[in-house]
């Protein structure tokens, strides 16, 4: 089967479009996640999505919408708990990570008519991207990219030095909450493509791949987006031909790209 034939299928068209949006979005937001050492937070929030999806099903509401609200609240709770307890940030993440998964497991158990595609949510199900999903993904993607663009200088300043940024008049706490919300939304809209368990790789791997090769922040963001988009598209195409799960294929392709980049960088720098 050749490539144009593959594109004749509506589900593949939607999958590829969703892959482009999700790949670009997570890579752009992921630059801040990587530079601020928030990779574990990404994993924590994505696992919280399991609780949100389960709650959505239990309440009979849209699981993705409920997961967005749930993840935003959990990300804020992680930040507030960290501030109140003055513990290192990975401690509240570790607690909420397990707690939200446990919450999801209990809620799933309460659902009487069990027809939830659990495996699809955990590892992604590209076939499940409907037209409505694509419209929602595109709309939220545009809003998030607009926020990334509008607050470019503020996020960069906070990432470089949050103290100096605060003294310069940037509302650092509010901006942090906004960034957490943006990470949460990006994670939830990526779940259908790569799944809850794998989504944090989309946030981290593109910038980790590019870092070390670029000499300014704009280049980091631009090339991370390129890596994110190409890996998503490449992963979906490969998964189509090899008949492998698309989410896992995207993540393994990203990992391969990251490892190759790291080795080449090591060779280049000696």
């Amino acid at each position: 089967m050749n490539l144009p034939e593959m594109l004749q299928y509506g589900f593949m068209q939607r999958a590829l479009m969703a892959g482009v949006i999700v790949g670009a979005l997570t890579a752009a937001i992921g630059t801040y996640v990587v530079l601020r050492g928030m990779a574990f937070l990404g994993a924590g929030i994505s696992h919280a999505a399991f609780g949100g999806v389960a709650l959505g099903y239990y309440l009979g509401l849209n699981p993705s919408a409920v997961a967005i609200i749930f993840c935003v609240l959990v990300s804020w709770a992680i930040a507030v708990t960290g501030r109140l307890t003055r513990l290192k940030s990975d401690v509240p993440i570790g607690v909420f990570f397990a707690a939200t998964m446990s919450f999801g497991a209990i809620i799933i158990n309460l659902i009487k008519e069990y027809n939830v595609d659990l495996f699809g949510y955990l590892f992604g199900n590209i076939l499940a991207v409907s037209k409505v999903d694509l419209i929602i993904t595109a709309s939220l993607g545009v809003i998030l990219m607009f926020l990334v663009f509008i607050f470019y200088h503020q996020f960069l300043y906070i990432t470089f030095d949050s103290q100096m940024a605060r003294v310069s008049g940037i509302p650092v706490v509010a901006m942090d909450m906004l960034l957490l919300s943006m990470i949460s939304v990006a994670i939830v809209i990526s779940i259908k493509v790569v799944g809850i368990i794998l989504v944090s790789a989309l946030l981290v791997a593109p910038s980790a791949t590019v870092m070390g090769w670029v000499r300014n922040f704009k280049a980091l963001m631009a090339f991370s987006i390129l890596v994110g988009v190409l890996s998503s598209l490449g992963g979906i195409v490969i998964s189509y031909y090899l008949n492998t799960p698309s989410g896992a294929t995207i993540v393994l392709l990203l990992t391969l790209t990251f490892l190759t980049s790291s080795i080449l960088l090591k060779i280049k720098k000696g």
Binding site: Y157, V167, G212
Partner: protein, 253 residues
């Protein structure tokens, strides 16, 4: 009469019930170059963080340019702050130019591009600090002394009237320290008000016009020559203090 830039009256700060600052009074007038010295854990950084509005005191009166520092509003750009040595990640992808451009952020709300005026101020600040030829380099690749000069350029790019520096030369080699202090002296000569914290009394007494000695309480506050002759200096550090000045004089207090 010079304008009072910073004023603290009976300022108390406690962390978890433990006093960090006890009844501190301090005045800094326009054009002053004030050094704040004291041993480690004396509350020096806390004092600076109050002045820049990062911490609110539990008690007391604080004014910077006549306003509470956490309500400075548009006057915030008048305060340039360099916190304790910034350990930049080596691969953090930000150039020297981009770091200095952050100093213009208060004039660049949202995603506005740099204006011609912004670019002029950034280049002026880089030239002033002798870093213009390094503008395209990665910040993380510079030496500690060069990084501090870039951060100073960032502060200057925002056109401040008050510069606040927290241990700006710690971890920097001696020639770079000398170079940095000379830059500060030049800025002071040009009319900049400067407050600088250091645990190294000898290094700053020759540079500053006023000195304050802090160890939770503010022990002394005045001209360096008078303060350095005071017996209270020994009480501040809890031991006899040997003062090494930059002229190579050694004076036992």
């Amino acid at each position: 009469m010079s304008e009072r830039v910073v004023e603290l009256k009976d300022v108390w700060v406690r962390f978890d019930g433990i006093s960090v600052l006890e009844g501190v009074n301090l005045e800094v007038e326009e054009g002053d170059f004030m050094g704040i010295v004291g041993p480690n854990g004396a509350g020096k950084t806390t004092l600076l963080r109050i002045i820049v509005g990062l911490i609110r005191p539990d008690e007391g009166y604080v004014r910077v340019f006549g306003r509470e520092p956490w309500k400075l509003g548009e006057l915030r750009s008048l305060v340039g702050y360099i916190p304790q040595r910034h350990e930049a990640e080596r691969f953090f992808p930000i150039t020297v130019y981009e770091v200095v451009a952050l100093g213009r952020i208060h004039r660049r709300r949202w995603a506005r591009r740099l204006s011609g005026d912004d670019r002029r101020k950034i280049e002026e600040a880089l030239r002033e600090m002798g870093m213009l030829e390094h503008a395209g380099k990665l910040f993380g690749e510079l030496s500690g002394g060069q990084q501090q000069r870039v951060l100073l350029a960032r502060a200057l790019a925002q056109e401040p009237r008050l510069l606040i520096l927290d241990e700006p030369t710690s971890g920097i080699d001696q020639p770079s320290q000398e170079n940095f202090y000379s830059l500060l002296s030049r800025l002071h000569d040009m009319g900049m008000t400067i407050i600088m914290v250091s645990h190294d009394i000898g290094a700053i007494t020759d540079r500053v016009t006023k000195i304050a000695c802090l160890n939770r309480k503010l022990y002394m506050h005045g001209c360096p020559a008078d303060v350095m002759k005071s017996e209270k200096l020994n009480r501040l550090y809890g031991m006899n203090v040997f003062l090494l000045t930059h002229e190579g004089r050694e004076e036992r207090k």
